[in-house]
Protein backbone atom coordinates (compact mmCIF):
# COMPACT_ATOMS: atom_id res chain seq x y z
CA UNK A 1 0.00 0.00 0.00
CA UNK A 2 2.14 2.76 -1.32
CA UNK A 3 0.66 6.15 -0.58
CA UNK A 4 2.89 8.45 -2.54
CA UNK A 5 3.75 6.36 -5.56
CA UNK A 6 0.50 4.65 -6.31
CA UNK A 7 -0.47 6.42 -9.51
CA UNK A 8 2.88 6.99 -11.13
CA UNK A 9 4.33 3.58 -10.50
CA UNK A 10 5.36 3.02 -14.11
CA UNK A 11 7.14 6.33 -14.37
CA UNK A 12 9.53 5.73 -11.56
CA UNK A 13 12.98 4.69 -12.50
CA UNK A 14 13.33 2.25 -9.64
CA UNK A 15 11.16 -0.79 -10.02
CA UNK A 16 8.62 -0.94 -7.24
CA UNK A 17 7.25 -4.35 -6.49
CA UNK A 18 4.39 -4.41 -4.02
CA UNK A 19 2.28 -7.03 -2.37
CA UNK A 20 -1.34 -7.47 -3.39
CA UNK A 21 -4.25 -7.03 -0.99
CA UNK A 22 -5.04 -10.75 -0.73
CA UNK A 23 -1.48 -11.60 0.16
CA UNK A 24 -1.48 -8.75 2.63
CA UNK A 25 -4.65 -10.17 4.19
CA UNK A 26 -3.18 -13.66 4.50
CA UNK A 27 0.14 -12.38 5.74
CA UNK A 28 -1.67 -10.40 8.42
CA UNK A 29 -2.68 -13.68 10.04
CA UNK A 30 0.63 -15.35 9.37
CA UNK A 31 2.52 -12.52 11.01
CA UNK A 32 0.00 -12.53 13.87
CA UNK A 33 0.76 -16.18 14.48
CA UNK A 34 4.49 -15.49 14.24
CA UNK A 35 4.21 -12.63 16.68
CA UNK A 36 2.13 -14.74 19.07
CA UNK A 37 4.75 -17.47 19.10
CA UNK A 38 7.49 -14.85 19.30
CA UNK A 39 5.88 -13.32 22.39
CA UNK A 40 5.74 -16.73 24.04
CA UNK A 41 9.44 -17.16 23.25
CA UNK A 42 10.09 -13.76 24.78
CA UNK A 43 8.40 -14.93 28.00
CA UNK A 44 10.58 -18.01 27.91
CA UNK A 45 13.73 -15.91 27.67
CA UNK A 46 12.81 -13.81 30.70
CA UNK A 47 11.18 -16.50 32.84
CA UNK A 48 11.65 -14.90 36.22
CA UNK A 49 10.15 -11.49 35.50
CA UNK A 50 7.33 -13.07 33.51
CA UNK A 51 6.59 -15.63 36.16
CA UNK A 52 6.23 -12.96 38.83
CA UNK A 53 3.57 -11.13 36.84
CA UNK A 54 1.87 -14.37 35.85
CA UNK A 55 1.82 -15.57 39.46
CA UNK A 56 0.30 -12.30 40.64
CA UNK A 57 -2.36 -12.61 37.97
CA UNK A 58 -3.12 -16.24 38.80
CA UNK A 59 -3.12 -15.91 42.58
CA UNK A 60 -5.20 -12.72 42.46
CA UNK A 61 -7.89 -14.66 40.63
CA UNK A 62 -7.65 -17.62 43.00
CA UNK A 63 -9.15 -15.75 45.93
CA UNK A 64 -12.37 -14.67 44.18
CA UNK A 65 -12.64 -18.08 42.53
CA UNK A 66 -12.40 -19.91 45.86
CA UNK A 67 -14.81 -17.55 47.58
CA UNK A 68 -17.16 -18.07 44.66
CA UNK A 69 -17.08 -21.80 45.29
CA UNK A 70 -17.87 -21.22 48.96
CA UNK A 71 -20.81 -18.96 48.15
CA UNK A 72 -22.09 -21.34 45.51
CA UNK A 73 -22.11 -24.16 48.02
CA UNK A 74 -23.72 -22.15 50.78
CA UNK A 75 -26.45 -21.19 48.33
CA UNK A 76 -27.04 -24.86 47.64
CA UNK A 77 -27.29 -25.51 51.37
CA UNK A 78 -29.65 -22.58 51.82
CA UNK A 79 -31.94 -23.96 49.15
CA UNK A 80 -31.95 -27.37 50.79
CA UNK A 81 -33.24 -25.89 54.03
CA UNK A 82 -35.52 -23.44 52.38
CA UNK A 83 -37.85 -25.91 50.72
CA UNK A 84 -39.91 -27.53 53.49
CA UNK A 85 -41.27 -24.23 54.73
CA UNK A 86 -44.45 -24.67 56.78
CA UNK A 87 -47.18 -22.20 57.42
CA UNK A 88 -49.06 -22.39 60.69
CA UNK A 89 -52.57 -20.96 60.67
CA UNK A 90 -54.30 -20.37 64.03
CA UNK A 91 -58.05 -20.43 63.53
CA UNK A 92 -60.72 -18.42 65.25
CA UNK A 93 -61.69 -19.93 68.60
CA UNK A 94 -65.43 -19.51 67.98
CA UNK A 95 -65.50 -21.88 65.01
CA UNK A 96 -67.44 -25.13 65.31
CA UNK A 97 -65.66 -28.32 64.40
CA UNK A 98 -67.90 -28.48 61.34
CA UNK A 99 -66.65 -25.08 60.19
CA UNK A 100 -63.05 -26.05 60.87
CA UNK A 101 -63.43 -29.13 58.73
CA UNK A 102 -64.96 -27.13 55.87
CA UNK A 103 -62.20 -24.59 56.07
CA UNK A 104 -59.55 -27.26 56.07
CA UNK A 105 -61.05 -28.73 52.92
CA UNK A 106 -61.14 -25.32 51.29
CA UNK A 107 -57.50 -24.65 52.10
CA UNK A 108 -56.43 -28.02 50.81
CA UNK A 109 -58.10 -27.20 47.48
CA UNK A 110 -55.98 -24.05 47.03
CA UNK A 111 -53.49 -24.29 44.17
CA UNK A 112 -50.63 -23.17 46.32
CA UNK A 113 -51.16 -25.79 49.00
CA UNK A 114 -49.70 -29.27 48.88
CA UNK A 115 -50.83 -30.64 52.22
CA UNK A 116 -52.85 -29.56 55.21
CA UNK A 117 -52.91 -31.23 58.58
CA UNK A 118 -55.21 -30.32 61.42
CA UNK A 119 -54.37 -30.16 65.09
CA UNK A 120 -57.62 -29.82 67.03
CA UNK A 121 -57.82 -27.67 70.16
CA UNK A 122 -58.29 -30.76 72.33
CA UNK A 123 -55.26 -32.43 70.84
CA UNK A 124 -53.28 -29.25 71.31
CA UNK A 125 -54.29 -28.97 74.93
CA UNK A 126 -53.35 -32.58 75.58
CA UNK A 127 -49.95 -32.06 74.06
CA UNK A 128 -49.49 -28.87 75.96
CA UNK A 129 -50.34 -30.55 79.22
CA UNK A 130 -47.89 -33.34 78.55
CA UNK A 131 -44.95 -31.30 77.38
CA UNK A 132 -45.27 -27.91 79.06
CA UNK A 133 -44.85 -29.14 82.63
CA UNK A 134 -47.85 -27.22 83.88
CA UNK A 135 -49.64 -30.54 84.20
CA UNK A 136 -52.71 -30.38 86.39
CA UNK A 137 -52.57 -26.63 86.66
CA UNK A 138 -54.22 -26.60 83.27
CA UNK A 139 -57.21 -28.51 84.67
CA UNK A 140 -58.18 -25.42 86.63
CA UNK A 141 -58.91 -23.55 83.41
CA UNK A 142 -62.62 -23.06 82.71
CA UNK A 143 -62.26 -23.51 78.98
CA UNK A 144 -59.66 -24.56 76.49
CA UNK A 145 -57.64 -21.41 75.61
CA UNK A 146 -56.02 -22.97 72.55
CA UNK A 147 -57.36 -22.55 69.00
CA UNK A 148 -57.56 -25.12 66.24
CA UNK A 149 -54.37 -25.13 64.17
CA UNK A 150 -53.83 -25.95 60.51
CA UNK A 151 -50.30 -26.80 59.40
CA UNK A 152 -50.00 -26.04 55.73
CA UNK A 153 -47.22 -27.20 53.43
CA UNK A 154 -47.11 -25.13 50.27
CA UNK A 155 -46.44 -26.68 46.87
CA UNK A 156 -42.85 -26.50 45.58
CA UNK A 157 -43.36 -23.28 43.62
CA UNK A 158 -44.59 -21.54 46.73
CA UNK A 159 -41.91 -22.68 49.10
CA UNK A 160 -39.46 -19.83 48.50
CA UNK A 161 -39.61 -17.27 51.26
CA UNK A 162 -41.10 -14.60 49.06
CA UNK A 163 -43.91 -16.67 47.63
CA UNK A 164 -44.61 -18.41 50.90
CA UNK A 165 -45.22 -15.08 52.55
CA UNK A 166 -47.56 -14.28 49.67
CA UNK A 167 -49.55 -17.36 50.62
CA UNK A 168 -49.32 -16.32 54.24
CA UNK A 169 -51.01 -13.00 53.44
CA UNK A 170 -53.72 -14.77 51.47
CA UNK A 171 -54.51 -17.09 54.37
CA UNK A 172 -54.49 -14.22 56.85
CA UNK A 173 -57.23 -12.54 54.85
CA UNK A 174 -59.58 -15.46 55.46
CA UNK A 175 -62.39 -14.91 58.01
CA UNK A 176 -61.75 -18.13 59.86
CA UNK A 177 -58.10 -17.36 60.49
CA UNK A 178 -57.00 -15.28 63.41
CA UNK A 179 -53.27 -15.45 62.88
CA UNK A 180 -50.76 -16.95 60.44
CA UNK A 181 -47.15 -17.72 61.30
CA UNK A 182 -44.52 -18.38 58.70
CA UNK A 183 -41.29 -19.51 60.27
CA UNK A 184 -38.97 -18.18 57.62
CA UNK A 185 -36.95 -15.72 59.67
CA UNK A 186 -33.88 -17.87 59.91
CA UNK A 187 -34.00 -18.71 56.19
CA UNK A 188 -34.24 -15.03 55.41
CA UNK A 189 -31.35 -14.31 57.71
CA UNK A 190 -29.27 -16.97 56.04
CA UNK A 191 -30.11 -15.60 52.63
CA UNK A 192 -29.30 -12.07 53.73
CA UNK A 193 -25.98 -13.32 55.02
CA UNK A 194 -25.21 -15.07 51.76
CA UNK A 195 -26.20 -11.90 49.91
CA UNK A 196 -23.82 -9.90 52.09
CA UNK A 197 -20.98 -12.31 51.38
CA UNK A 198 -21.81 -12.25 47.67
CA UNK A 199 -21.71 -8.46 47.53
CA UNK A 200 -18.49 -8.26 49.50
CA UNK A 201 -17.04 -10.92 47.24
CA UNK A 202 -18.09 -9.01 44.15
CA UNK A 203 -16.41 -5.84 45.38
CA UNK A 204 -13.28 -7.77 46.32
CA UNK A 205 -13.19 -9.48 42.94
CA UNK A 206 -13.48 -6.15 41.14
CA UNK A 207 -10.65 -4.67 43.20
CA UNK A 208 -8.42 -7.67 42.53
CA UNK A 209 -9.20 -7.52 38.81
CA UNK A 210 -8.25 -3.84 38.71
CA UNK A 211 -5.03 -4.67 40.51
CA UNK A 212 -4.29 -7.40 37.96
CA UNK A 213 -4.89 -5.00 35.06
CA UNK A 214 -2.59 -2.42 36.62
CA UNK A 215 0.17 -4.94 37.32
CA UNK A 216 0.04 -6.41 33.83
CA UNK A 217 -0.11 -2.91 32.36
CA UNK A 218 2.94 -1.86 34.32
CA UNK A 219 4.93 -4.94 33.31
CA UNK A 220 4.07 -4.38 29.65
CA UNK A 221 4.93 -0.69 30.01
CA UNK A 222 8.39 -1.61 31.27
CA UNK A 223 8.75 -4.04 28.36
CA UNK A 224 7.86 -1.28 25.90
CA UNK A 225 10.31 1.17 27.45
CA UNK A 226 13.02 -1.51 27.43
CA UNK A 227 12.60 -1.89 23.69
CA UNK A 228 12.32 1.80 23.02
CA UNK A 229 15.18 1.88 20.49
CA UNK A 230 13.85 -1.13 18.66
CA UNK A 231 10.40 0.43 18.43
CA UNK A 232 11.91 3.65 17.09
CA UNK A 233 13.78 1.78 14.38
CA UNK A 234 10.70 -0.22 13.45
CA UNK A 235 8.72 2.99 13.11
CA UNK A 236 11.48 4.44 10.92
CA UNK A 237 11.26 1.59 8.46
CA UNK A 238 7.50 1.86 8.24
CA UNK A 239 5.95 -0.27 10.97
CA UNK A 240 2.44 0.76 11.95
CA UNK A 241 1.54 1.22 15.61
CA UNK A 242 -0.61 -1.88 15.27
CA UNK A 243 2.30 -4.02 14.10
CA UNK A 244 4.47 -2.82 16.98
CA UNK A 245 1.69 -3.25 19.53
CA UNK A 246 0.76 -6.79 18.65
CA UNK A 247 3.66 -8.64 20.32
CA UNK A 248 2.92 -6.77 23.55
CA UNK A 249 -0.77 -7.58 23.34
CA UNK A 250 0.12 -11.23 22.80
CA UNK A 251 2.42 -11.08 25.81
CA UNK A 252 -0.52 -9.84 27.88
CA UNK A 253 -2.70 -12.63 26.52
CA UNK A 254 -0.06 -15.24 27.36
CA UNK A 255 0.14 -13.85 30.88
CA UNK A 256 -3.60 -14.49 31.06
CA UNK A 257 -3.39 -17.99 29.59
CA UNK A 258 -0.69 -19.15 31.99
CA UNK A 259 -2.05 -17.10 34.90
CA UNK A 260 -5.44 -18.77 34.34
CA UNK A 261 -3.83 -22.20 34.63
CA UNK A 262 -2.17 -21.12 37.87
CA UNK A 263 -5.53 -19.88 39.15
CA UNK A 264 -7.09 -23.28 38.36
CA UNK A 265 -4.40 -25.14 40.16
CA UNK A 266 -4.41 -22.86 43.20
CA UNK A 267 -8.22 -22.96 43.42
CA UNK A 268 -8.20 -26.75 43.30
CA UNK A 269 -5.61 -26.84 46.04
CA UNK A 270 -7.55 -24.41 48.23
CA UNK A 271 -10.82 -26.28 47.82
CA UNK A 272 -9.10 -29.56 48.56
CA UNK A 273 -7.68 -27.90 51.67
CA UNK A 274 -11.05 -26.77 53.02
CA UNK A 275 -12.97 -29.84 51.88
CA UNK A 276 -12.08 -31.91 54.96
CA UNK A 277 -13.14 -29.10 57.30
CA UNK A 278 -16.43 -28.60 55.47
CA UNK A 279 -17.21 -32.30 55.59
CA UNK A 280 -16.68 -32.35 59.36
CA UNK A 281 -19.09 -29.48 59.82
CA UNK A 282 -21.75 -31.07 57.66
CA UNK A 283 -21.35 -34.38 59.44
CA UNK A 284 -22.13 -32.62 62.71
CA UNK A 285 -25.29 -31.27 61.12
CA UNK A 286 -26.24 -34.72 59.81
CA UNK A 287 -26.42 -33.31 56.35
CA UNK A 288 -26.05 -35.13 53.04
CA UNK A 289 -23.82 -32.43 51.63
CA UNK A 290 -21.01 -32.67 49.12
CA UNK A 291 -18.72 -29.75 48.38
CA UNK A 292 -18.94 -28.83 44.72
CA UNK A 293 -15.83 -27.54 42.97
CA UNK A 294 -15.75 -25.38 39.85
CA UNK A 295 -17.69 -26.81 36.93
CA UNK A 296 -16.18 -27.08 33.46
CA UNK A 297 -17.96 -23.92 32.29
CA UNK A 298 -16.81 -22.03 35.36
CA UNK A 299 -13.24 -23.11 34.70
CA UNK A 300 -13.52 -21.79 31.16
CA UNK A 301 -14.96 -18.51 32.45
CA UNK A 302 -12.12 -18.20 34.94
CA UNK A 303 -9.65 -18.75 32.12
CA UNK A 304 -11.39 -16.27 29.86
CA UNK A 305 -11.36 -13.67 32.64
CA UNK A 306 -7.61 -14.21 33.13
CA UNK A 307 -6.89 -13.81 29.41
CA UNK A 308 -9.22 -10.82 29.22
CA UNK A 309 -7.51 -9.08 32.10
CA UNK A 310 -4.07 -9.76 30.63
CA UNK A 311 -5.18 -8.34 27.30
CA UNK A 312 -6.84 -5.32 28.90
CA UNK A 313 -3.74 -4.49 30.93
CA UNK A 314 -1.43 -4.74 27.95
CA UNK A 315 -3.87 -2.84 25.75
CA UNK A 316 -3.91 0.08 28.17
CA UNK A 317 -0.09 0.06 28.24
CA UNK A 318 0.46 -0.14 24.47
CA UNK A 319 -2.15 2.48 23.69
CA UNK A 320 -0.39 4.99 25.87
CA UNK A 321 3.23 4.13 25.31
CA UNK A 322 3.72 2.78 21.79
CA UNK A 323 2.16 5.86 20.23
CA UNK A 324 4.28 8.09 22.46
CA UNK A 325 7.58 6.72 21.14
CA UNK A 326 8.50 8.73 18.05
CA UNK A 327 11.72 8.25 16.09
CA UNK A 328 14.32 10.93 16.69
Amino acid sequence: MSLLFRSKRGEQGAKITRIGPIRRFIMFFVSNAQQAVGSLGELWRTPFASLMTIAVLGLSLTLPATLYVVVKNSQAVGQQWDNPAEITAFLDKDLSSQQVETFQRRVSLMDEVAEVSHISREEALREFREYSGFGSAIDYLDSNPLPDVLIITPVRDYSSSERASQLQRKLAAENEVSEVKLDLDWVERLQALIQLIEDALGALAILLCIAVVLIVGNTIRLGILNRRDEIMIMKLVGATDGYIQRPFLYTGAWYGVIGGLIAWLATFLLIWWIRAAVLRVTELYDSQFRLQGLSFNELLILWAVAVGLGLLGSWIAVRRHVAAIEPR
Partner: protein, 234 residues
Protein backbone atom coordinates in the same frame (compact mmCIF):
# COMPACT_ATOMS: atom_id res chain seq x y z
CA UNK B 1 10.43 13.85 -6.44
CA UNK B 2 11.01 16.13 -3.44
CA UNK B 3 9.84 19.70 -3.47
CA UNK B 4 10.21 22.23 -0.64
CA UNK B 5 8.10 25.37 -0.88
CA UNK B 6 8.95 28.20 1.53
CA UNK B 7 9.57 25.70 4.31
CA UNK B 8 10.46 26.99 7.77
CA UNK B 9 10.88 24.95 10.91
CA UNK B 10 10.99 26.47 14.35
CA UNK B 11 11.47 24.13 17.28
CA UNK B 12 9.68 24.68 20.57
CA UNK B 13 11.87 27.15 22.45
CA UNK B 14 12.30 29.35 19.41
CA UNK B 15 15.30 27.82 17.63
CA UNK B 16 14.77 28.26 13.91
CA UNK B 17 16.31 25.29 12.14
CA UNK B 18 15.07 26.06 8.63
CA UNK B 19 14.15 29.42 7.15
CA UNK B 20 12.11 29.67 3.93
CA UNK B 21 13.81 26.81 2.14
CA UNK B 22 12.95 26.16 -1.51
CA UNK B 23 14.31 23.42 -3.71
CA UNK B 24 13.23 20.68 -6.04
CA UNK B 25 14.92 17.31 -6.36
CA UNK B 26 13.82 15.60 -9.54
CA UNK B 27 13.00 11.90 -9.87
CA UNK B 28 16.11 9.90 -10.51
CA UNK B 29 18.39 12.68 -9.31
CA UNK B 30 21.28 12.37 -6.86
CA UNK B 31 22.14 15.43 -4.80
CA UNK B 32 24.22 16.36 -1.80
CA UNK B 33 23.03 18.46 1.06
CA UNK B 34 25.80 20.24 2.88
CA UNK B 35 26.46 22.87 5.51
CA UNK B 36 27.94 23.22 9.00
CA UNK B 37 26.56 21.08 11.74
CA UNK B 38 23.47 22.84 13.03
CA UNK B 39 22.80 24.39 9.61
CA UNK B 40 19.60 22.37 9.32
CA UNK B 41 20.63 19.37 7.20
CA UNK B 42 19.17 16.80 9.56
CA UNK B 43 16.01 18.82 10.06
CA UNK B 44 15.50 18.94 6.32
CA UNK B 45 15.81 15.17 6.02
CA UNK B 46 13.56 14.67 9.03
CA UNK B 47 10.86 16.73 7.35
CA UNK B 48 10.97 14.44 4.32
CA UNK B 49 10.78 11.28 6.43
CA UNK B 50 7.89 12.79 8.41
CA UNK B 51 9.81 12.68 11.66
CA UNK B 52 8.99 16.37 11.93
CA UNK B 53 6.36 18.63 10.44
CA UNK B 54 7.23 22.06 9.00
CA UNK B 55 6.12 25.15 10.92
CA UNK B 56 5.38 27.01 7.71
CA UNK B 57 5.43 26.05 4.05
CA UNK B 58 4.90 22.69 2.42
CA UNK B 59 6.89 19.63 1.50
CA UNK B 60 5.82 17.56 -1.48
CA UNK B 61 6.94 14.07 -2.42
CA UNK B 62 6.00 12.87 -5.88
CA UNK B 63 3.44 15.69 -6.00
CA UNK B 64 1.76 14.67 -2.71
CA UNK B 65 1.54 17.36 -0.05
CA UNK B 66 2.87 15.84 3.17
CA UNK B 67 0.61 18.12 5.20
CA UNK B 68 -2.29 15.94 4.05
CA UNK B 69 -0.66 12.78 5.37
CA UNK B 70 -2.36 11.82 8.60
CA UNK B 71 -0.52 10.30 11.52
CA UNK B 72 -1.84 6.84 10.75
CA UNK B 73 -0.53 7.04 7.18
CA UNK B 74 3.03 7.96 8.11
CA UNK B 75 4.26 4.34 8.23
CA UNK B 76 3.13 3.76 4.65
CA UNK B 77 4.99 6.87 3.49
CA UNK B 78 8.13 5.72 5.25
CA UNK B 79 8.04 2.39 3.44
CA UNK B 80 8.80 4.30 0.25
CA UNK B 81 11.71 6.19 1.75
CA UNK B 82 14.94 4.45 2.65
CA UNK B 83 16.73 6.29 5.42
CA UNK B 84 20.37 5.83 6.40
CA UNK B 85 21.78 7.28 9.62
CA UNK B 86 25.25 8.13 10.74
CA UNK B 87 24.77 5.87 13.78
CA UNK B 88 23.21 3.23 11.49
CA UNK B 89 20.46 2.43 14.04
CA UNK B 90 20.77 -1.33 13.92
CA UNK B 91 19.15 -3.77 16.34
CA UNK B 92 22.24 -4.99 18.11
CA UNK B 93 20.61 -8.11 19.55
CA UNK B 94 19.38 -9.28 16.14
CA UNK B 95 21.36 -10.85 13.31
CA UNK B 96 22.26 -8.99 10.12
CA UNK B 97 19.52 -10.95 8.38
CA UNK B 98 16.88 -9.91 10.93
CA UNK B 99 17.97 -6.30 10.65
CA UNK B 100 17.83 -6.14 6.88
CA UNK B 101 14.64 -8.19 6.61
CA UNK B 102 12.77 -5.97 9.08
CA UNK B 103 11.18 -3.63 6.49
CA UNK B 104 10.11 -6.61 4.38
CA UNK B 105 8.53 -8.52 7.26
CA UNK B 106 6.70 -5.37 8.34
CA UNK B 107 5.33 -5.06 4.84
CA UNK B 108 4.11 -8.66 4.88
CA UNK B 109 6.72 -10.70 3.03
CA UNK B 110 7.24 -14.31 4.01
CA UNK B 111 10.62 -15.23 5.41
CA UNK B 112 11.32 -17.24 2.26
CA UNK B 113 10.82 -14.28 -0.06
CA UNK B 114 12.53 -11.94 2.32
CA UNK B 115 15.60 -14.20 2.44
CA UNK B 116 16.10 -13.83 -1.32
CA UNK B 117 15.83 -10.08 -1.22
CA UNK B 118 17.97 -9.76 1.87
CA UNK B 119 20.80 -11.74 0.33
CA UNK B 120 20.53 -9.71 -2.91
CA UNK B 121 20.63 -6.52 -0.90
CA UNK B 122 23.61 -7.68 1.17
CA UNK B 123 25.43 -8.74 -2.01
CA UNK B 124 24.90 -5.24 -3.38
CA UNK B 125 26.62 -3.64 -0.39
CA UNK B 126 29.36 -6.25 -0.38
CA UNK B 127 28.28 -8.16 2.71
CA UNK B 128 27.10 -11.33 1.02
CA UNK B 129 27.11 -14.32 3.34
CA UNK B 130 27.11 -12.33 6.58
CA UNK B 131 23.41 -12.92 7.29
CA UNK B 132 24.06 -14.87 10.48
CA UNK B 133 26.50 -12.38 11.96
CA UNK B 134 25.52 -9.98 14.69
CA UNK B 135 26.22 -6.27 14.10
CA UNK B 136 28.63 -6.24 17.01
CA UNK B 137 30.88 -8.67 15.11
CA UNK B 138 31.20 -6.25 12.18
CA UNK B 139 33.42 -3.22 11.66
CA UNK B 140 31.99 0.32 11.62
CA UNK B 141 32.02 0.43 7.82
CA UNK B 142 30.29 -2.94 7.62
CA UNK B 143 27.65 -1.89 10.13
CA UNK B 144 26.99 1.20 8.04
CA UNK B 145 26.57 -1.00 4.99
CA UNK B 146 24.08 -3.20 6.87
CA UNK B 147 22.11 -0.01 7.48
CA UNK B 148 22.28 0.77 3.76
CA UNK B 149 21.18 -2.76 2.85
CA UNK B 150 18.19 -2.33 5.15
CA UNK B 151 17.31 1.00 3.53
CA UNK B 152 17.31 -0.38 -0.02
CA UNK B 153 15.98 -3.88 0.61
CA UNK B 154 12.44 -3.02 -0.42
CA UNK B 155 13.67 -0.89 -3.33
CA UNK B 156 12.29 2.45 -2.26
CA UNK B 157 12.05 5.14 -4.96
CA UNK B 158 13.68 7.61 -2.58
CA UNK B 159 16.79 7.22 -0.48
CA UNK B 160 17.88 9.65 2.24
CA UNK B 161 21.25 9.47 3.95
CA UNK B 162 22.22 11.53 6.98
CA UNK B 163 26.04 11.73 7.24
CA UNK B 164 26.48 8.15 6.00
CA UNK B 165 30.27 8.49 5.98
CA UNK B 166 30.60 10.43 9.20
CA UNK B 167 32.68 7.85 11.03
CA UNK B 168 34.50 6.27 8.11
CA UNK B 169 37.95 6.75 6.60
CA UNK B 170 38.22 8.35 3.11
CA UNK B 171 38.61 5.05 1.27
CA UNK B 172 35.50 3.51 2.88
CA UNK B 173 33.61 6.77 2.43
CA UNK B 174 34.29 6.74 -1.27
CA UNK B 175 33.12 3.11 -1.49
CA UNK B 176 29.86 4.07 0.17
CA UNK B 177 29.40 7.02 -2.16
CA UNK B 178 29.95 4.72 -5.14
CA UNK B 179 27.20 2.51 -3.72
CA UNK B 180 24.79 5.45 -3.71
CA UNK B 181 25.81 6.19 -7.27
CA UNK B 182 24.96 2.67 -8.29
CA UNK B 183 21.52 2.89 -6.64
CA UNK B 184 20.97 6.17 -8.45
CA UNK B 185 21.96 4.61 -11.75
CA UNK B 186 19.00 2.19 -11.50
CA UNK B 187 16.62 5.12 -10.98
CA UNK B 188 16.53 5.72 -7.22
CA UNK B 189 16.39 9.37 -6.18
CA UNK B 190 19.10 9.96 -3.59
CA UNK B 191 19.66 12.85 -1.20
CA UNK B 192 22.82 12.68 0.90
CA UNK B 193 23.50 15.05 3.77
CA UNK B 194 27.24 15.34 4.38
CA UNK B 195 29.83 17.83 5.48
CA UNK B 196 32.65 15.96 3.78
CA UNK B 197 33.27 18.71 1.23
CA UNK B 198 36.32 17.11 -0.33
CA UNK B 199 34.35 13.97 -1.09
CA UNK B 200 31.40 15.93 -2.44
CA UNK B 201 33.63 17.99 -4.69
CA UNK B 202 35.14 14.87 -6.21
CA UNK B 203 31.71 13.36 -6.91
CA UNK B 204 30.57 16.37 -8.97
CA UNK B 205 26.84 16.19 -8.30
CA UNK B 206 24.29 18.86 -7.54
CA UNK B 207 24.98 20.26 -4.07
CA UNK B 208 22.46 22.05 -1.89
CA UNK B 209 24.10 24.21 0.75
CA UNK B 210 22.43 25.25 3.98
CA UNK B 211 23.69 27.97 6.28
CA UNK B 212 21.86 28.86 9.50
CA UNK B 213 18.70 27.31 8.12
CA UNK B 214 18.77 29.14 4.79
CA UNK B 215 19.45 27.56 1.43
CA UNK B 216 22.34 29.71 0.23
CA UNK B 217 23.30 27.65 -2.81
CA UNK B 218 21.21 25.33 -4.93
CA UNK B 219 24.35 24.11 -6.66
CA UNK B 220 22.74 23.98 -10.06
CA UNK B 221 25.69 25.97 -11.43
CA UNK B 222 28.10 23.84 -9.46
CA UNK B 223 29.69 22.41 -12.57
CA UNK B 224 30.96 25.86 -13.56
CA UNK B 225 32.21 27.55 -10.42
CA UNK B 226 31.38 25.11 -7.66
CA UNK B 227 34.92 24.82 -6.38
CA UNK B 228 35.26 28.53 -5.87
CA UNK B 229 31.93 28.82 -4.10
CA UNK B 230 32.38 26.01 -1.64
CA UNK B 231 35.85 27.23 -0.94
CA UNK B 232 34.71 30.74 -0.04
CA UNK B 233 31.56 29.78 1.80
CA UNK B 234 32.82 27.00 3.93
Amino acid sequence: MIKFEQVSKTYPGGFQALNQVNFHLRAGELAFLTGHSGAGKSTLLRLIALMERPSIGRVLINGHDLRKIKRRQIPYVRRDIGVIFQDHRLLMDKTVYDNVALPLLIEGYTHKEAAKRVSASLDKVGLGGKERHYPIMLSGGEQQRVGIARAIVNKPPLLLADEPTGNLDPKLSMDIMRLFESFNSVGMSVLIASHDLGLIARMRYRTLTLKDGRMIDDGLAHEHHGGALTGSEL
